[in-house]
């Protein structure tokens, strides 16, 4: 039965955490991380910049420039932490919300905006970034990731695959099949589940009775729950899981315990199904605020640095906006392109007829 109590507010004991919401560094017996001051500042910069891109995208949607946008607000640490754990040789398979991971893989944010603006269905070359296309059909990409990892396994070398999906996705058959494949073939894959507590309007308890990371044991591989709002912990846990995968120790399920601070997408109205207190409680665990507090307390960064990053973020926001608005609308001819690798007679005929028809209006 559904309760009205805010969910996920008390961190469960099994959570791997290296940085508390107050910005205190804590030790964990299994996971540790050594970062230079420069690396820590760089993580902070990533978090701030991707949040800024996200805010700009939401604004663009509100102004009618995007059809829809799926915000990553609140999930920055999960995405940057895991994304920065990847080496160039690793491969990532995203859902539709992994704008932070895309950032780590050097995918131009305007490419992401193009998809949501409707100029194309994705359009970056996955091989160029080792970042696959966004997948909207829930869970499908988990199987692709496992297959890709099986390929890596056969090719030899030092690489692993990471695949992203949500708490809701864990109910899909494809996701469960991907767990089985990964386990049976000992594939070098990391399952990175961002449990943001909601699948549109459905709370976690509509998908599971046990903590999601515990599902892994039934499939025969380790599962770990990490504080998804702690960028250090996400980095450390993902690094270790990827390294294990590269070394032939098979898959790991990481459940990043986090919160979708915004609406599901810009089309959604969360006031219909969740209580405001829940959001307020999670705001206290904000991934950026805690890192900022840590940087400040440990004198790794000062106000001048924060101001500089804010200014960079604003400039990035403006740049992304400008280039989004400059995206040319596709020509009608684009309808017929890239459907097949080789020429296709019927398609060519349809294209020619249609372009002739359209030309009739120009006269």
């Amino acid at each position: 039965m559904t309760s009205d109590a805010p969910r996920g507010v008390d961190a469960p004991p099994e959570l791997v955490q290296l940085l508390t919401p107050e910005g205190e560094r804590v030790e964990h017996p299994d996971y540790d991380i050594e970062l230079t001051d420069e690396e820590v500042r760089s993580l902070y910069r990533d978090l701030v910049l991707v949040r800024r891109i996200d805010l700009e995208a939401v604004a663009l949607q509100r102004q009618g420039e995007l059809g829809i946008w799926a915000s990553l607000l609140g999930q920055e640490a999960a995405q940057i932490g895991s994304g920065r754990a990847l080496t160039d040789a690793d491969m990532a398979f995203p859902t539709y919300r992994e704008h932070g991971v895309a950032w780590c893989r050097d995918v131009d944010p305007v490419r992401l905006l193009g998809l949501f603006r409707g100029v194309n269905h994705g359009g970056w070359d996955p091989a160029e970034h080792n970042f696959h296309l966004y997948t909207i059909v829930i869970g499908s990409q988990t199987l692709h990731a496992v297959g890709y990892a099986m390929g890596m396994q056969r090719d030899g070398g030092e690489a692993a695959t990471i695949v992203y999906f949500g708490d809701g996705a864990t109910s899909q058959g494809d996701v469960n099949e991907s767990f089985i494949w990964a386990s049976v073939f000992n594939a070098p894959v990391v399952f990175f589940c961002q449990n943001n507590q909601w699948a549109i309007s459905e709370p976690l308890e509509k998908q599971t009775r046990i903590p999601l990371y515990k599902r892994a044991s039934g499939f025969g591989f380790p599962g770990v729950r990490v504080d998804g709002n702690d960028v250090f912990a996400c980095l450390a846990v993902t690094r270790k899981a990827l390294q294990n995968a590269r070394e032939g120790q098979g898959p790991t399920l990481i459940e990043a315990f986090t919160y979708r601070m915004g609406a599901h997408t810009t089309s959604d109205d969360p006031t219909r199904y969740r209580v405001a207190d829940e959001l307020e409680a999670w705001k206290l665990k904000d991934p950026i605020e805690r890192l900022k507090a840590y940087l400040f307390k440990n004198q790794i960064a000062d106000q001048e640095y924060f101001d500089k990053i804010d200014a960079e973020a604003d400039a990035l926001g403006k740049d992304v906006r400008r280039r989004c608005l400059e995206l040319p609308d596709p020509e009608p001819e684009a309808l017929f392109k890239h459907v097949y690798a080789a020429p296709h007679a019927l398609l060519d005929e349809e294209r020619d007829q249609y372009l002739t028809y359209l030309a009739g209006f120009e006269r």
Partner: protein
């Protein structure tokens, strides 16, 4: 008479069915508190409770598979598939089980399951949210396939579908959800398997269903200015097909254009064209022409105005029909 949007009319129809029969259940993703992403199930969770309005786990195969089980136990599940493009994870349960289990039992089993699918494009959505998968299902024997086009039909057809003992794929044109019309909540609807002549005419028959009915009515109104008297038939049911109404209409007008959003190639229009040719051959003044999507996946939204049949493309086909 009450003025209702299509979404609200469907909602009223569902409510009426749930009141009439305690075995009727609503199930799907986000159909509970949220009332569905299009609000078609709005308020039902509050009024009928979560035993009858079930927010399911996120798995379409699970939704249809468990609906089959509930139906075996005497319930009448109405499943919502959130968007057309997400019916495919459930395709196995629909095609291999839902459609065929009654036959397998030599008639001992009935599966009164309704699968509601918001369909079609025109709302500026991202990939998988604008498709027209009807032909996959009309090609599957054992399923009835219907498409409503307006609020009054939405209200009556959903109730009829729920009353039917056969499994039904129920298409709802999502871009028409917000269109309003007068609905007589007390009037008995046309039987579910009947086509309707929505606009009588003498010169040419436009055949359409779901979202394209409105487009065809607009085209017929525009053609009137050119002195052409166009008939518009809303098929309503694709399987079974009401060939009686179709053949009578085309026999009378001698010309026919079929319009749907789905790709023309092996689309539902191919079946119509073939049947009309077989049954009305000596009355045809021109070949049956088809207007529809291209042989491409549904495009990104900035191209959908080019992909979707519109007034001009329908009128262009009408013009061509008169050149024979």
């Amino acid at each position: 008479m009450t003025t209702l949007t299509l979404a609200k009319a469907l909602n009223e129809g569902l409510r009426r069915s749930m009141e009439d029969d305690p075995k009727v259940l609503v199930m799907g993703e986000d159909v509970g508190r949220l009332g569905g992403v299009f609000r078609v199930t709005d308020g039902l969770h509050k009024d009928f409770g979560e035993d009858r309005v079930i927010d399911t786990p996120l798995a379409e195969s699970g939704i249809i598979g468990t609906a089959i089980g509930l139906a075996l136990r005497g319930y009448r599940p109405v499943c919502e598939i959130q968007f057309d493009g997400f019916v495919f994870p459930a395709a196995d349960q629909i095609i291999t089980q839902l459609a065929k289990m009654p036959l397998r039992s030599l008639g001992a089993l009935k599966l009164p399951v309704v699968v509601r699918i918001p369909c079609g494009g025109g709302i500026g959505a991202v990939e998988h949210h604008s498709e027209s998968p009807e032909a996959y299902f009309t090609h599957t024997a054992g399923l009835r396939v219907v498409a409503c086009s307006n609020p009054a039909d939405g209200y009556s057809m959903i109730q009829e579908a729920i009353r039917s003992d056969d499994p039904i794929i129920f298409f709802e044109p999502k871009r028409r959800y917000w269109d309003k019309a007068e609905v007589d909540l007390a009037a008995p609807g046309l039987p579910l398997d009947r086509a309707r002549i929505t606009r009588p005419g003498a010169d040419l028959t436009l055949l359409a269903y779901g979202p394209m009915v409105k487009t065809c009515l607009e085209a017929a109104a525009a053609a009137e200015e050119d002195g052409r008297d166009i008939e518009v038939v809303d098929l309503r049911s694709l399987n079974p097909l009401d060939m009686g109404v179709v053949a009578e209409s085309v026999t009378r007008t001698g010309r026919c254009v079929v319009v749907h959003e789905a790709p023309v190639f092996t689309g539902f229009g191919a079946e119509l064209a073939a049947r009309i040719t077989e049954q009305c051959f000596y009355h045809l003044e021109s070949p049956v022409l088809r207007v529809g999507g291209f042989s491409t996946p549904y495009p990104p939204s900035r191209l959908e105005e080019y992909y979707l049949p519109d007034l001009d493309r329908v009128l262009d086909a009408v013009d061509r029909a008169f050149t024979y």
